[in-house]
Every structure is written in structure tokens, then in C-alpha cells.
Symmetry: C2
Subunit: 310 residues, 2 copies
């Protein structure tokens, strides 16, 4: 993997795994500067900062200050507050070994009595081997990806309008993420790759892997969406969050309805009706202090222009 990377990426800047931060904050020195349209590489540590290597390592011995980091920040030249940073995800390459853990009191069934435990799994041929006879198709995705908010020191384990630890399983190679720029240079950071994760990330851990991301940025000047927007081949999704799933769902729905009003010059009532037919509310994760719900709209019904306006 590393060798392939060196060959393929020999002319690209590489932000190394050592440039790990645990907050989105303007106080951090940029780890790297890149220009719009310049492909580069971000190497990422896993969500546990590499502290869990085998099944004898459980979360009991963990240094929590090293958990949920992201690599960065990357200063995007000419990015200014008020712009939208377009993140084009060219490749997401997990390493071939991942870990999953249970953490007592955590996850959607945190009230149940259970033990801290760790499972190490291998990735090969596009699959995660969970057990001898149980394998899952890998879906390498980025759990944490965002820019620096105006208010300093938002932990990289949190999520919000700046992105962050959103755990959306559709943030994969071949998609585009639109993030509002709040500070000069955007100060982007990403990490927390998952080899595979379900909608919900029920037990609080997915298959946590180190890896690398190849990406490039573009900028849209002077406008930005209210929530991060994910563009896939067929859809746009607003990635909202709130204190409860209901609150997150409401924010996502409201933003989607306003976008439909703009696109079709519809009154509220008509856009609200249409959302009931064509806007899917989907759960990202239910296990962090803020809950994530995305509102997904097919590209048949909305254009980028309406999605990114506010």
C-alpha cells in the first residue's frame, strides 16, 4: 500500500499521520498549504490513535486524549470566510487491518451490561473478514471530515455545521463534500476512516482503520450552504445534526424544503408536500452527543445552485 502510494503520488504533497489534531481550531499551525485543484494525500491514524493493536488491547487502558483525532489542518490557499470548500474525494484507501471495540455504557444499547472487548479484522479483496465464515463487503468511508469553525477549539470528535465526526457511510471515494468556509484558508482536517459502518454505527465503533485519502479542493465564492452537503452520483444530501434524532431530522428537512422552494419557485406548501414524496431522512449515527440525520434528494429534482444557496 505504502509503496503503491509512493509511486502513484510521487509528485503530490503528503500530510503525514504525525500531523494529528484533536480540535478544529485556528490556533493550530497549518500542517500543509495546498492550492485549489491540487491533488494531495492525507495520511490518517485510526480513531484510537493506533493504541489498539490486538485483541488484548481494550478501551480500559486507552489514553482518551489520543482518540478521535484528524490529520491537518490543511490551509487552502485563497479560501475565505463566506466561500464554500468543495472537497473532491479521489481515493479512500484503508490499511488492511482494522479494529472494532465495545465500550461499556456506550452505543445505542449502552444501558445493557456488557464488557469492554476488541476484535481485530483483516481486509482483503474488498471484504472485511469478521469471522471465519462471516465476511462483509468493505465500504471505505471517512468518519471525520471538516473545516475550522469560527469559535475555536471544537473537538474533532464532535459534529456540526463545519462537518466533523459525521459518520456518514456515503462519504466515500467518488463523492464531493461541500463545506462552508469560516476562517482564512478553511483549515481542513480529516480522519477516522471506517472500512465498513452501518447507518447508525450502533455500538459506537465501526471497523476503525488507518489509511490515506487522496483529494483535491475547489472553491465556490461568496456562498455557502447551511449544513455540509454531500454529492453522490445521483443525489445531494444535507448532513444535519441536533441534540436528538428528531431535532436533526427537522433541521435536515427544513433545509431540504427551502432548497426545493428555490429550485422550483414553489410556495412552502408545495415544497413540503414534495419532500414527503422525494426527500429521504436517513440516520447517520445515533451514538455521539449530537445525532446525525441526512436529507437525501435525487438530482432529478434539484440542482447544485439551489442546494448551495441559503
Amino acid at each position: 500500500m505504502e509503496i503503491t502510494l509512493k509511486i502513484r503520488c510521487e509528485n503530490m504533497k503528503i500530510v503525514p499521520r504525525s500531523k494529528v489534531i484533536h480540535s478544529y481550531s485556528a490556533k493550530h499551525e497549518p500542517a500543509e498549504h495546498v492550492k485549489p485543484n491540487e491533488p494531495f494525500v492525507i495520511m490518517t491514524e485510526d480513531a484510537f490513535g493506533g493504541q489498539i493493536r490486538n485483541e488484548g488491547d481494550t478501551v480500559e487502558g486507552l489514553d482518551w486524549s489520543k482518540v478521535d483525532g484528524a490529520t491537518g489542518p490543511v490551509f487552502v490557499e485563497t479560501a475565505r470566510p463566506g466561500d464554500t470548500l468543495v472537497v473532491e474525494l479521489l481515493e479512500v484507501r484503508p490499511e488492511n487491518k482494522g479494529v472494532i471495540v465495545t465500550i461499556p455504557k456506550n452505543g445505542i444499547l449502552g444501558e445493557k451490561p456488557f464488557k469492554p472487548s476488541t476484535k481485530v479484522v483483516e481486509l482483503s479483496g474488498g471484504f472485511v473478514q469478521f469471522e471465519k465464515n462471516v465476511k462483509l463487503k468493505a465500504n471505505p468511508m471517512i468518519g471525520t471530515i471538516g473545516v475550522t469553525p469560527k469559535e475555536a477549539d471544537v473537538p474533532t470528535g464532535f459534529l456540526g455545521r463545519h462537518g466533523g465526526n459525521m459518520d456518514v457511510k456515503e462519504i466515500v471515494a467518488g463523492t464531493r463534500l461541500y463545506l462552508p468556509v469560516f476562517v482564512e484558508g478553511a483549515l481542513f482536517a480529516a480522519g477516522d476512516l471506517h472500512a465498513v459502518q452501518s447507518d447508525g454505527e450502533l455500538c459506537v465503533s465501526a471497523v476503525e482503520v488507518a489509511g490515506e485519502i487522496i483529494l483535491k479542493f475547489q472553491l465556490i465564492r461568496g456562498k455557502q450552504p447551511e449544513w455540509p452537503v454531500l454529492e453522490t452520483k445521483n443525489s445531494y444530501a444535507y448532513l444535519a445534526c441536533g441534540d436528538t434524532l428528531e431535532e436533526a431530522a427537522k433541521y435536515a428537512a427544513e433545509t431540504a424544503v427551502r432548497a426545493l422552494m428555490r429550485e422550483h419557485s414553489w410556495p412552502f406548501e408545495k415544497a413540503y408536500m414534495f419532500s414527503s414524496l422525494a426527500v429521504d431522512l436517513r440516520i447517520n449515527q445515533v451514538v455521539d452527543p449530537k445525532k446525525g440525520v441526512r436529507a437525501v434528494i435525487d438530482k432529478d429534482f434539484i440542482t447544485q445552485e439551489s442546494v448551495l444557496a441559503t
Copy 2:
């Protein structure tokens, strides 16, 4: 549509639209008796009991006692409490005209100021024509489908362990629904067809249509799942509900984790981990007093036997 039906269904029993009930209750006389493996037809009125016919009819003049009905109850011969009723959905045929409404104070954005309004749409060629230049692929589905609980008089507009108004957009022709039988004969009823609905049914109304369902029943003796189970070509889903989305998600997740423990003889921790990789929590609707969340598991990882055990 009616002619086709008469030709195709000439030897089948037909439960007519006039046999509408507004509660799942053992007090209702059976509208029809059918045997296991006997295909038959249920004709259904739309969710408004046919009261809204054109765009001048809004919910302001509605007789609410006629809303959210279902056709039935159908007595399934030999069905006994403790069994599972397997509902095989052979066809779901909407009429070619549907209505969508907004109802002030209702839906996920019910706090916003908006007017009661009605939209009538045509269905043709597998599409719903929302506006001149906006059409959606139709996905005819059953909003309300269930059996009679032991406690009498559960409104057909409610949802619960007996099924009811679940609004799951995957309850379509070609799927199987497993419902726990609580009373002699199961006393099944269904209605509230939607020509198309999104995950969330955001504004409280989908494209509400009258129509007909062709279905047959099978019985599984002496065991039943905790929640209704939907079987599609590739997956099983537990259809749970709760007072909040979080509560519904927790019930769905817990039931799925226990099924994985049974299937693979895994301890809780391992099944909980696996659920974080392979159990998708998906929103059904967020707009009724009880919220619905389904836990979807691919058939690669679970068998019918483990799904239906408790």
C-alpha cells in the same frame, strides 16, 4: 383497472372497500374468512376515506372519524394466538388518481406557519405526475397493515407490535410481512396505500390513493417475532416503534442484536459489534404520535429461523 381485476381475480374472494374499520378490535365482525394459501383481494379506500376529490377539498372540511381506515377484518382460518401470520403481498395496485395534503400544525415542520392545501396528481406509466415537468417513479406501498392486538380498539391510524400505520416504503408487492397473531383468526386489515412516499413522510401525507391488494397468508405455528418483520429479496427488517426516534431505534437495534446472537451463537459483545457494521437503522415516518424505525439486516447474515425466534 376494475375490469382487469375482475378477469384476473374472478375466482378470488374480494373484500370490498365498504368493509372499512377504524380500529383493530375483536369486536368487529369478520368481513371475510380466508384459508392459508388462498389468494384473495382487499379493496382499499384512501387515507381520507375518499373525502378529498379535488383541489378545492382541504382538510378543513374533513370528517376526521372517516380518516385512516383499513379494510377488514379478515379472519384467517386456523390462525391462533402465538402463531406468526405470514402475509405474502402478490400485487399492490393503486388507482390512477391520488391526493397529497398539508395540514397546519402537522408533519416534521408543523411549527411553521402554513396553509391547508390539497394537490391532486395522476398516476400513469409507473410515474406520479407532480407538476407538468416534475414526475416521480411510483412505488405503490401499503401504509397500514396489521392484525388485531389483544387489547381492543387500537385505532388503525396507530402503529405497534401488531403492525398498523407503519408507513414503511418497502412494504410493496413481492415482499413478505410477518405479524404476530394475538387473537383467534388474526383479524387482519390493511389500507392507506401510497403511490409514493419518502422515508420520513415529512408533511404527514404521501400520495394517498385508493386501490387493491392481492395477497395470501401462511401460518408459522407457535412462534412469533417481537416486532413485525419485513422480508424483501435481500433483507429482513424489524419494524419497531417508540415515543421518540431514539426509542424506536433502540428497540429495533436490540431485537436485531438478539437475532444475530441466535444466528451465530455469538455473545452480546460480538453481535453488538457486528450490528455496527451490518444493521442499518432507517427512519419510516417521523410524523405520527409513535415514531417508526426499522433495523435492516442483509440475508447474507441472518436466516428466517433466527429472525422469527425471540
